[in-house]
Amino acid sequence: MNPFFGFIKKEIYHILRDKRSLIILLGMPVVQILLFGFAITNEINNVDIAILDHSKDVATREITNKISSSKYFSINRLITNEANIKTVFKKGKVKAVIVFEKDFSRNLIRDRKATVQIITDATDPNTANTISNYISSILQNYQKEQNKATPPTYQIVSKTRMVYNPELKSAYMFVPGVMTVILMLISAMMTSISITREKELGTMEVLLVSPLKPIQVITGKVVPYIFLSVFNAIVIVVLGIFVFKMPVQGSLFWLGLESVLFIITSLALGILISTLSATQQTAMMLSLMGLMLPTILLSGFIFPISSMPVILQVISNIIPAKWFIIIVKGILLKGVNMAFIWKETLVLMAMALFFIGLSVKKYKTRLE
């Protein structure tokens, strides 16, 4: 009987019999992708707003109609004086108030200029910003329509085209992100925990006294997690495609290979963590603090790297997830081939080799 296959078989028993971990391992990707997909979104929909209309004329009524007929806003109430603005904000439901000045229509016709004030609840700055942009653009549309008859003397027309994600769907951002986080989590955390568990139980000692070579022990522990991670990657991509209508512009074959590369990098990190920690708890804490947080915060998954302070931008370069996210987005959204992502691929390869080398070295010194 091949000792190595026997080892992998044993490892599979461990994974299959630990029902709780198994449910987490297989359920987590599904739950996370659905959560991110439906709950966390940068888009706005049916935001409650209030209108304070001092003129109540043709123009203001038309604008109000335009706003309320858009899918982004619903008019929660019409208020009658300035004092009420504070009250509606305090109640919390209304996120923006639109104030039309007195004699809006008349000003517009006589002075060719009228003012609308947009007041937004900036306790959530991102949403406030988005709301004010949306309202401004509705106002501009109205203005354009009015100007049709009498075109202005000159004008600059900006035509914006959002490429790769014309509808600005946030799914396009988080599917690669969640995939990265899950692969990192399963590969690094689970292997580091499963290796330290053997240390804690004392079975590692017995394995080291056996004729198995340390490299066989480590490979045997890691191989089942490669398969598990690949399976999860497939689940995430399939959910992305069918539930969130992710486009697949590039080759799934390359995506698969790149994923395996990232999984190997993460596994190497997991092994490294296991050589540094004596207990499962330490391994878990190290994985969470040392890997999960940087992966989520510094990889460009949620927060754009270009807007970070320079020091964090530099640090982000040593986060494997950053490079993997670039690769995944490139393949899925832009349909690029190797010619465009070979640099990122090389970085990941170098990282994988470095971490494998380091953990093998660490592992050996521990034995002697």
Binding site: M1, N2, V206, L207
Partner: protein, 228 residues
């Protein structure tokens, strides 16, 4: 002569084939450390040792094939069944499928565990586990088996049965190297060494040691040595 080594404290002694050699000492006397050096998971700072005829420093791989080891912690997998544990450990020592099948049957018969062959090891009582662990450690018929405090926390009846298994192994030619701090167990050994503060203070057959120190039990011998 078989398995001749110099310990960390520069005392030489030999263990012969089929002998049961007891390694006694208080907690922290250095028993486990010395044993770990012999089985190759700790490197001695200086000195030479051979185990089963192989050099500890240079021929670790050959030693590993020829020894069995039962660690202080219970070292079978609790989430695997008895049969799965036997198959796994047989497998990593390179036994063939047929050999494993045969040995599993013999082992289960010997320990009368046929009815629980497919029970998870974690559900067995401690005494059964220890006996099973010993059988698994000797499954590949090693020349020497190292037992690190194998009977810790086990009831007297099971301990007695455990020692019967050790005798049986020794009779079949396996050398047994056992650490313990139960002094009554020391009486069962062919020869014992008593370690105090990292040094071997006494080494002989239990009977001779008792004569030499004028004591009735090994317990008394040990106390005399330990108190200096």
């Amino acid at each position: 002569m078989f398995g001749d080594f110099t310990a960390v404290n520069a005392i030489t002694f030999n263990v012969s084939k089929g002998e049961i050699f007891g390694f006694l000492g208080a907690n922290g006397a250095g028993k486990t450390t010395a044993m770990k050096m012999l089985i190759g998971i700790l490197k001695p700072t200086s000195g030479d040792a051979t185990v089963a005829g192989f050099d500890v420093a240079k021929q670790r791989e050959s030693i590993k094939k020829n020894i069995g080891y039962m660690s202080q912690k219970f070292a079978l997998y609790n989430d695997l069944t008895i049969t799965e544990n036997i198959t796994f450990f047989g497998g990593i020592y390179g036994l063939s499928r047929a050999e494993i099948k045969n040995k599993t049957k013999v082992l289960l018969d010997d320990l009368q565990l046929q009815n629980v062959a497919n029970t998870l090891v974690g559900e067995l009582p401690l005494g059964w586990k220890q006996k099973l662990a010993f059988s698994v450690a000797t499954l590949h018929e090693p020349k020497i088996v190292f037992l690190d405090e194998p009977t810790g926390g086990v009831d007297p009846i099971t301990r007695r049965q455990f020692w019967e298994m050790i005798y049986k192994s020794a009779n079949q030619g396996t050398t047994v190297f056992v650490t313990t701090h139960y002094m009554d167990e020391a009486e069962y050994c062919d020869r014992i060494s008593i370690m105090v503060n990292g040094k071997i203070e006494a080494l002989d057959a239990p009977k001779k040691l008792k004569e030499q120190f004028g004591s009735d039990t090994i317990n008394e011998v040990f106390l005399k040595l330990a108190r200096g």
